[in-house]
Symmetry: C2
Subunit: 340 residues, 2 copies
DNA sequence: ATGAAAGCGCTAACAT
DNA sequence: ATGTTAGCGCTTTCAT
């Protein structure tokens, strides 16, 4: 079946291509009778306007690129869903780039903006630097960011306060009587890792507790590294009583290590993660974690981003700091007896 | 910054646009010196070829649409990752459509093929009917399917044998001494549900056990429905000793219900899921499940699909039935004492 | 209200 | 080996 084009429709309806185009788009300056004729011809010819031609002519694609580290994780999947649903509602499409934290792949993906395959890119990946994103923007491309704040007048962002989030987790653990609290970080170069570690440090300082380097280990945001990091920690710190993992996947790794080592959770060790992964309510024990409105962040940001791209004198608010919420569940809901 | 176009480069390099185009593409019939000149001009002008123009001219977009039910599930996320990585390696892009099983959204997404935004669509969603997909193909669009077999000469597919898979799970449970085995299905209209239920039935028949309708409940492939379905089952069948859930998410819901009801797993109740979700190794008890090579299926299929789209007399194999593998873990690794 | 025609930026057939 | 030119299918300005 060969696609029909606008000129075929025009011929069929005995009008000019301009008229068909008008019917296809605004259709304001078309008489009802002509409009009806054209619509009928479109229907009859089974006509669908060619997107490439439209894109070329309009210099827009109504497509947004989305860069994520790993779509196979609750955090990113929820954000992507939010973006995708809102984008679709606004007649936009999204092209996904799953980078596995390979900076090279992220950089390569930017070429889709340069060759105008996408109208703009949303970075949900924590690895690329703010500087790279700002530079990208300076070169005339549209960018938006989820998960952190980029100081740039043209870059919309939505994020939670990781430092505050980490402090709240720590405060909860401190209130439960814990004093030797370990921290399992994510990738060393992920911004979330930095910020959550910073919150960990500030909480220690507030509580006038010393920072013990042995109580910190790097993971990679995955279960296996959480498991291994915990084993290293436990080896070095037999007296620790709590673990704060920078995300839920790593906390699950800690759970597994604890079962193998016969460490009761939360009786002997409290565990807290971050992200409110959908499984955390279904583990045993249920996992204390921090809920972030991921889906909503994605939806909100893409909406503002699209607004901005279509409106040169966009003056609306661009920076969204959303609240996260500590969910205390079984894995940390146990008060240490300080007298013991 | 205004984009430079091919004619700007031509002017800069003092050659014709055709020569620039040749350098950009095959570059066979270009002398080394001209080529160098052009390359230098491209570099100097910071030129990137416009994708829309190229797409319009070549009538191809090197973009594939991917329809999934829910990217926020291990099964789909792994498949999508496989598709995305292989597609990128072949210089293709993917546009995702997360349908939440809304058939309407799937149908709408097909318009991207009609208006030539994508070169073809891979359906990973279990809801759309084989007939709809075949019809789509008959209208001249390229389609491929993951997760089941569509009888059509032009539709590549990769899938596992759901009936066999379900029989193997049942055989395992039967061997462990179970006789009253419940089945929690997924969406009533998902093909995976049908087929796994069929396997469940055939296994019962093979074992000369009666089919008891009260032992089957529908879920929706999510944790919450798994939880609720199990509660209904338990109410009706206090004597059941095993549950086969059509996917892991629902099995996690069963775990939660068991903890609340004080049912020891696997001591009193065996539980088996499907998908080998990444968390199943980290739950307590670890969950018996069925591993399918999701990532590999996605990668393999998209590779063949791209081959086929670019080669009219493609004669390569189109149907890939891949093996799944039962993973017996703690949740079902307990032999009932038949004498009790 | 409708039509004619000029491009959007690129590729490829044809000419030299 | 290199250049000229006709479109790909659409939108939009400018006429009428």
């Amino acid at each position: 079946m060969k696609d029909s084009k606008i000129i075929d429709v025009a011929r069929e309806a005995q009008v000019s291509v301009a008229t068909v185009s008008r019917v296809l788009n605004d259709s304001r300056h078309v008489s009802p009778s002509t409009k009806a004729k054209v619509l009928k011809a479109i229907e009859y010819m089974n006509f669908t306007p060619n997107a490439s031609a439209k894109n070329l002519r309009s210099q827009k694609t109504r497509t947004i690129g989305v860069v994520v580290s790993d779509i196979h994780s609750s955090y990113f999947a929820e954000i992507v869903k939010g973006i995708e649903n809102m984008a679709n509602a606004l007649k936009y499409k999204i092209i996904i780039c799953d980078t596995q934290n390979e900076k090279e792949k992220e950089l390569e993906f930017m070429s889709l903006a340069m060759n105008r395959t996408v109208d703009g890119i949303i970075f949900v990946s924590p690895v690329i630097s703010n500087r790279d994103i700002a530079a990208f923007c300076e070169r005339g491309y549209s960018a938006a960011v989820i998960g952190r704040h980029v100081e740039h007048p043209d870059i919309p962002c939505a994020y939670t306060d990781n430092v505050k989030l980490a402090r709240e987790v720590m405060q909860h653990l401190l209130e439960m009587g814990h004093r030797r609290i370990a921290f399992i970080s994510g990738y060393a170069d992920a911004i979330d890792s930095y910020e959550r570690l910073e919150g960990y440090l500030k909480a220690l300082r507030d509580a006038e507790l010393p920072f013990v380097p042995d109580l910190v280990e790097n993971g990679d945001f995955n279960e296996t590294e959480g498991y291994l990091a915990f084993k290293r920690l436990w080896e070095k710190n037999p007296d620790m009583t709590a673990v704060f993992a920078a995300n839920d996947e790593m906390a699950l790794g800690v759970f597994k290590a604890c079962r193998e080592l016969g460490i009761p959770v939360p009786g002997r060790l409290a565990v807290v993660g971050v992200d409110n992964n959908r499984v955390t309510k279904y583990t045993s024990p249920t996992l204390s974690t921090v809920d972030q409105p991921n889906y909503a962040m994605g939806a909100l940001l893409v909406e503002k981003f699209i607004d901005q791209m279509n409106d040169n004198d966009f003056i609306d608010k661009r920076v969204f700091k959303v609240d996260s919420k500590l969910k205390i569940r079984e894995s940390s809901d146990f008060r240490l007896n300080r007298e013991t």
